[in-house]
């Protein structure tokens, strides 16, 4: 009897992430619909997907990648340039975004293969600033003006064609991308690669003793992590109908880190929760662009200094206290 209850409890626990994920689809409707709700939700989905890429590095590899804006902008620019100049549709530009993101990550990953800790962060950070400089100065990529006039997102399929004219229409795509990213991280956590990454972070000597090729694991995780971030950039380009060198701004970097750290690291739904909190603050409770910068920075600093396990960690701590 007890055994059965235990089993059903476990099954419920295993199903919980999927149920939560399914529920997320209805959030804009529950929140009342309307264009501002939809645009906020699409933005949250896009930014959360962007953060999930960095999450794979920060939570499971234990490194701080300050170069993820490269993949974010890479995806955005791939979508912008190919849709405006070659009239590629949604599928092709998405594929191109992934290819661009993965290639850039492979180059940067190989170059930083044997760097650790702050050297790794420094080099990825420097790479992002240099990428910004190149994009800003290269007229072929639109230079400092960026790329304007990106057409509406179109996705053709056997069941019908899709056009993303408004944020409400974009929501299913944004949601699908978010769901895929969460499933991807869920799968990654349980995969051999995810386990090896965690082991390489927690106990590198043990990992090596067990025959884990740490450099290979690091490179694989780094390359994989570029995929969600690049796809987020892809959708961002269509949502804004514009990309520019501002995609390299430190804002996105600090945003990704805050979205991960604020709820707590290694929490499956953490980045989407963190993203939602910050975007809702900036959309509905903004105190001006510079004030919001202070808020974002303060959140990041406070969590790490006062309560490093984040909001979820605090919540779990409170639950345990109540249980006693």
């Amino acid at each position: 009897m007890k055994d059965r209850r235990e089993r059903s409890f476990r099954a419920a626990r295993a199903a919980l992430p999927f149920a939560t994920l399914a529920l997320l689809f209805f959030v804009p409707e529950i929140a009342g619909g309307g264009s501002i709700v939809y645009s906020t939700c699409v933005t949250i989905a896009i930014f959360a997907v962007m953060a999930y890429g960095a999450d794979a590095i920060l939570s499971y590899l234990g490194e701080v990648s300050l170069g993820h804006t490269i993949f974010w902008a890479g995806g955005g620019y791939a979508a912008a340039l190919l849709s405006t100049r070659l009239a590629w549709d949604g599928w092709l530009t998405a594929l191109a975004a992934v290819v661009v993101g993965v290639s850039l990550a492979a180059i940067l990953g190989l170059a930083t293969l044997r760097t650790r800790e702050f050297v790794f962060s420094l080099v990825t950070y420097a790479a992002a600033i240099v990428a910004f400089e190149i994009v800003f100065n290269w007229q072929f990529l639109g230079g400092s003006d960026g790329v304007v006039g990106i057409p509406l997102l179109t996705l053709t399929s056997p069941v019908g064609d899709f056009t993303g004219g408004s944020n409400e229409e974009l929501w299913p795509v944004a949601y699908a991308l978010l769901a895929l990213s969460i499933l991807f991280i869920h799968r990654f956590r349980r995969s051999r690669l995810g386990q090896e990454a965690l082991m390489a972070q927690m106990n590198p000597d043990l990992a090596m003793g067990l025959g884990v090729n740490i450099q290979k694991v690091r490179l694989m995780v780094f390359v994989l992590s570029a995929v969600p971030t690049a796809l987020a950039g892809w959708l961002y380009a269509f949502q804004r109908a514009y990309v520019g060198p501002d995609m390299f701004e430190a804002y996105f970097l600090v945003f990704m880190l805050t979205a991960i750290i604020l709820p707590g690291r290694r929490v499956l739904f953490g980045p989407v929760l963190g993203t939602a909190i910050v975007i809702v603050q900036q959309t509905f409770f903004s105190i001006g662009g510079d004030g919001d910068k202070i808020i974002l920075g303060t959140l990041l600093v406070l969590v790490l200094i006062v309560w490093p396990s984040g909001l979820i960690g605090a919540f779990r701590f409170a639950l345990r206290r109540l249980h006693r």
Binding site: E63, R114, S121, L257
Partner: protein, 284 residues
């Protein structure tokens, strides 16, 4: 003659880079700490000096100590709030925390000083020396002189004094150093304050050469990072050499190839070097 001129430019640029990187070098080499708000401290150093010159009407040379003191105080506050992370040597968290501080400072400075570009006015910047077809300003001479004197002083303190020995002991093993009665948190505080003060000083000296913006922090530090990595992490002499090297590279590449891609080219060089000699660059 253009070669000589570019050599002088490279010398001045390089000593500026080295000055900006000095605090980071000591922080990294001696304390094994990182501060990603370094660029914002540079920005603040320049803006505090500008602000007191504008508002209080004090002369340039008085604004320098004011700015150094203000930024040093800020550094003390930052370090005090991070003491636990520092004692745990939790580098990942420290990186992110200092990045967060940097972002706060960017936002705060924009509110306080406005978003427009400003000029930090040094009287020496207007005094040019022209001789034999080359020219430089007295500000350039001041930068070069300060870089050489400060680097020599830091090298002497680290290698020839008791304070230096204490700092080196902490870098080697903070816990063991504490057993020998060294107050590790205090030494860390001192190093961090030194870092903040030197970058503020560097800012007041170097910033008069270019317009200043409150958003310049994130990009300003890029060369510091390269210098620190190139110079062999934490090596004082190495940083000075790397600073001059990068300065020369910037001057010549900017003149003869392309000024827009100078940083990119320098970084490409650093990347190649890192993939060829990843461990040879780090001291440990």
């Amino acid at each position: 003659m253009i070669l000589v001129q570019q050599f002088i430019n490279g010398l001045v640029l390089g000593s500026g880079y080295a000055l900006i990187a000095l605090g980071w070098t000591v922080l990294l080499g001696a304390a094994r700490l990182v501060n990603f708000a370094h660029g914002q401290l540079y920005m603040l150093g320049a803006f505090v000096a500008w602000f007191v010159m504008e508002q209080a009407g004090v002369p340039y040379f008085v604004s320098i100590p004011v700015s150094v003191l203000a930024v040093a105080l800020l550094g003390a506050f930052m370090q005090a709030s991070m003491t636990r992370l520092v004692m745990e040597q939790n580098l990942t968290s420290l990186m992110i925390v200092t990045l967060g501080f940097g972002y706060m400072l960017t936002g705060g400075a924009a509110i306080l000083f406005g978003g427009a570009p400003q000029t930090l006015d040094s009287p020496l910047q207007g005094m040019a020396v022209r001789t034999g077809g080359v020219w430089f300003t007295l500000q350039d001479v001041l930068i070069l002189a300060c870089a050489l004197v400060l680097f020599a002083a830091v090298w002497l303190v680290l290698n020839r004094t008791r304070i230096g020995a204490m700092v080196r002991a902490i870098a080697e093993d903070p816990k063991l150093a504490q057993l020998f009665g060294i107050n590790a948190p205090l030494v860390y505080l001192g190093i961090f304050v030194f870092e903040a003060a030197t970058v503020a000083l560097a800012a007041t000296l170097v910033a008069p050469r270019t317009p200043i913006l409150t958003s310049m922090g994130f990009e300003e530090v890029i060369l510091t990072f390269m210098i620190v990595v190139l110079g062999g992490i934490g090596s004082v002499g190495g940083s000075l050499a790397a600073g001059f090297g990068l300065g020369m590279f910037t001057a010549f590449f900017g003149t003869f190839v392309s000024p827009a891609y100078t940083t990119a080219a320098a970084f490409g060089f650093v990347l190649v070097l890192l993939s060829v000699r990843p461990k040879g660059l780090a001291r440990r």
